[in-house]
Symmetry: D2
Subunit: 305 residues, 4 copies
């Protein structure tokens, strides 16, 4: 599959990695979750994004999870695999392994440990080095809440000219930035994916071609429907649905993060299970907040608890 | 005019305050600018917002500028006057004076000097105190780039229940936040205005009722047209125009600020003139950047310089 | 008094402004506090610093408070008056008025509203303009927690060459920065004052000539003693005392701010009284914390409550 | 060696990892550097700290570098090995491997990718889990410039009660924080090491027992001398020397980072060599700045270039 041939347009859950109580990866539960997600109209899966807790997995585990997802992958769907490491060399090596394991696209964060040194030039060289060496197309991953850095607009635009860099997942939520990148990369085979259900509808309005939404782990149909309503020209309905999902989205991302996403998966009939340390389980008060926000978004019944 | 009777829907330039070379306010030039702006389909004017350099004016000057704008105000237009001070007491006093001077609405920032003390509770009490005492309706003003603070969503929602608080100007650009506030305040007589042309179109998509856009100082027709195209259901055209304006908008706001806005006003046939210190005039390199970005947005001809 | 003739070495409380319950300035209580502070070996007073809630006072009040302190000022002590405004022109005007009212030195923050425009060059021009016009010497005031900005080291060093800029009050607590400025301004008639009791001892070790410490409002003798022990070469004792004060200092500054300082003043036999809005009174839980931290620093008895 | 038996007091260079032009680790050059460092009165070495570019090394390489340093380690010196990973499980595993490879102490950062979830409780659990499982004592590593997080004072104090956590390397430079931690952990077998030469002298004044200073890679004697002068009660000389080193320290840390440190090593007769990507080589302008700052600190001759 060459870069030019691939369209990423569509919805992707950045899937959570299921663990057993002893924190080992639970591949059986992953398989069960996949069977259920496969019934939803996703374009594919993001594997080893932030919600996959990739930073707490060994390299072997990161690759094995992709291999397992590949085994369960329906025809026509794609795997976008997170291959980010702090070093360029490691990222290149892992990207190659991920391609062998079945990934169709590599998702790459900017290195962020040496923050003061991560100028636009340093980021661009990193992305180009990975893209030059990668057997599969590369998508940039902007995640300022976790990295403390924004990939400069200019770097995104420059990367769009690299034939093996085909897009950007932007989780920052700065819609002006997203619209600006879309405008400046139009016609270059570069797609922008909204990194959160919270701004999926306005991102689509601005020309995004899809979304990678944590919320799709627990509300896949709803996330897909925001897109299909939009595609059908039903702005009002798309907007209303997206707006309804904001509270649920916020609570499993910004407010409480992966532990909340996993508990919500349990509540919604998936296997969520525990996170790996250093992430902590929710407190009782956090569980109450989670339930209330899922209810207000219509993802849990309002009935008495 | 009561809060419930007033609709703010529409476009507003947050007008620049013209100064002479000696930094005195140039009321004659203000009048000339007003005559020209009055020909554009604005809903009204924001006077003494950030672009009015209100922080560099004396209290007398702040009030006098409003008085002069009032004198030039066409029927049916409104004045939204910035009445922000750090102290609650001062803000109340200035709000009353602004109302006497002709302001229809008061625009109020959260105090920001004692950042660590500006909890949601402290902000809400400030806004309520001002709204309780104000003879005119109050609009909240969220401007994190200048204040270093975001008004919490919960505070905005709580303020929407105050009968004399009728809206929010949000200049932060976090579209999820904007959509969330719109959803949670629907039906409460609370309007959200996009604080920048950069995200005017997506904000309208999410239910904003207008915009307060620095760019409208120099591109009023274009800013109004983004809105009228949207109102006519012409999403594609509205989006394309808004997208075209992003570069010009960014250069007169985030990138170079008020000195660039004023020079662009000079270039576009208004009186911009100097800023007051501590703002510095643009360097030559900054002027080149300004020109290029205005050209790329179609606000200056591309011809050779 | 010329800049070269003035030595600022010593301890200063940045005095709180007393208010009545109706938030009017309580000049009688100010007088009473002054009588008590005058018995302590201070070098002088900082009037209208952050702890004076200057941002919530009118210009008239700011000047009048200085006038009243002057009336109570013992021979040989000096007044360092905060004259900061956002605009250069206003700062110049207020500085002149403060000089007439009895201020010996003006304390000037960098403007901070237009954060993105407050480059080193803009700050330096502001400080030079004020110093050029001021009848009294100027001290720079670095307060990043409130302004969101650090005055660059290079700007401090350049200002030291201005004959009417005689020092810096640094409240940031970056000791490397303080030591670096002291080194680069040595021999230029430029003094550095520690802006917090928390790092008073290490700042003295690095060559600071005194301190402006919120804590001196309630623990003046102790703050002065840190300095006198240091001057006597008693490092161990000076360090131990300073260390003991950290908890009390933190709770009346970083942790809880002016409302805590004022309540602690009440508890320590001064008049603290209410703050002006937007600052809120302490909650019960905050009061408990305040008491505990004052006790752990030996400023309140440990006895049962 | 048990935690209680070990004193870490002294100076440590956080050694750079030498690479060949092809970015492979150059163990021969590491050996050469070690021979030279071994002649200086260091207490030991920090291996795989930030300056060791540990984030760009594979796990195998991280362990092998420790093994090689161990082979060159003189009697009486210790190795403090960075064992930080994002996940708790991986950190435990690597800590065990590092102990086997010869590390005497493990240096552990707080996980920082899931910033919003890294509460004090989450950090403390991580540190306790590592310390419980580690065969060697653990030192906390506070490095806010790279992680975007500060380990809360309360967490440091709580960790001091764990029998296998023996200290803190603090690179943040907030001297009040350092003094506060020292006060609250006194008598608990907990040592604080200054994480930068820039504030080494004031940290010693406040009770730090040593330093881990990037600058010691190129100015080991000078860094050791700051300590020995201090121990001899020569405050003035210690301060003056430390102050002289600030410019050199800043340029190889905050200003330009590891690429500058490595070039300075080349200039000072060590092997510095290239960094691994994503770190970029210095530009010409940066080299000029580096040279000037080393000269002003007396680490390069002032003669014409």
């Amino acid at each position: 599959m060459t870069a030019s041939a691939l369209s990423m347009a569509g919805m992707y859950p950045p899937i959570a990695t299921p663990f057993k109580v002893n924190e080992d990866v639970d591949y059986a539960k992953l398989h069960e979750n996949m069977l259920r997600w496969n019934k939803m109209p996703f374009r594919g899966y993001v594997v080893q994004g932030s919600n996959g807790e990739y930073t707490s997995l060994s390299e072997e585990e990161r690759v094995e999870v992709v291999r397992r997802v590949k085994a369960d992958l329906p025809d026509g769907r794609i795997i976008i695999a997170g291959t980010s490491c702090e070093g360029t060399r490691q990222t290149v090596q892992l990207t190659k392994r991920m391609a062998e394991a079945g990934a169709d696209v590599a998702l790459v964060l900017p290195p962020s440990y040496f923050k003061a040194s991560m100028t636009g030039a340093a980021m661009q060289k990193h992305f180009f080095s990975v893209a030059d060496a990668s057997p599969i197309p590369v998508v940039l991953y902007n995640m300022p809440a976790n990295t403390g850095l924004d990939i400069p607009v200019e770097v995104c635009v420059a990367c769009a000219d690299h034939k093996n860099i085909i897009g950007l997942k932007d989780s920052g939520g700065d819609i002006t930035r997203i619209a600006s990148i879309i405008k400046q990369t139009r016609g270059k085979g570069f797609e922008v994916l909204a990194g959160s259900a919270g701004f999926l509808y306005p991102a689509l309005c601005c020309g995004a071609s899809g979304g990678v939404c944590a919320l799709a782990n627990i509300a896949g149909e709803e996330c897909c429907e925001v897109m299909s309503l939009f595609s059908a020209g039903k702005h009002e309905e798309s907007r209303t649905l997206c707006e309804r999902l904001i509270a649920a989205n916020a609570v499993v991302t910004r407010k409480l993060g992966v532990p909340a996403l996993k508990l919500a998966m349990d509540w919604r009939g998936f296997y969520g299970g525990p996170t790996r340390a250093p992430l902590l389980p929710l407190t009782d008060a956090q569980m109450v907040l989670l339930r209330a926000d899922l209810q207000s978004s219509g993802l849990l019944p309002q009935a008495k608890l």
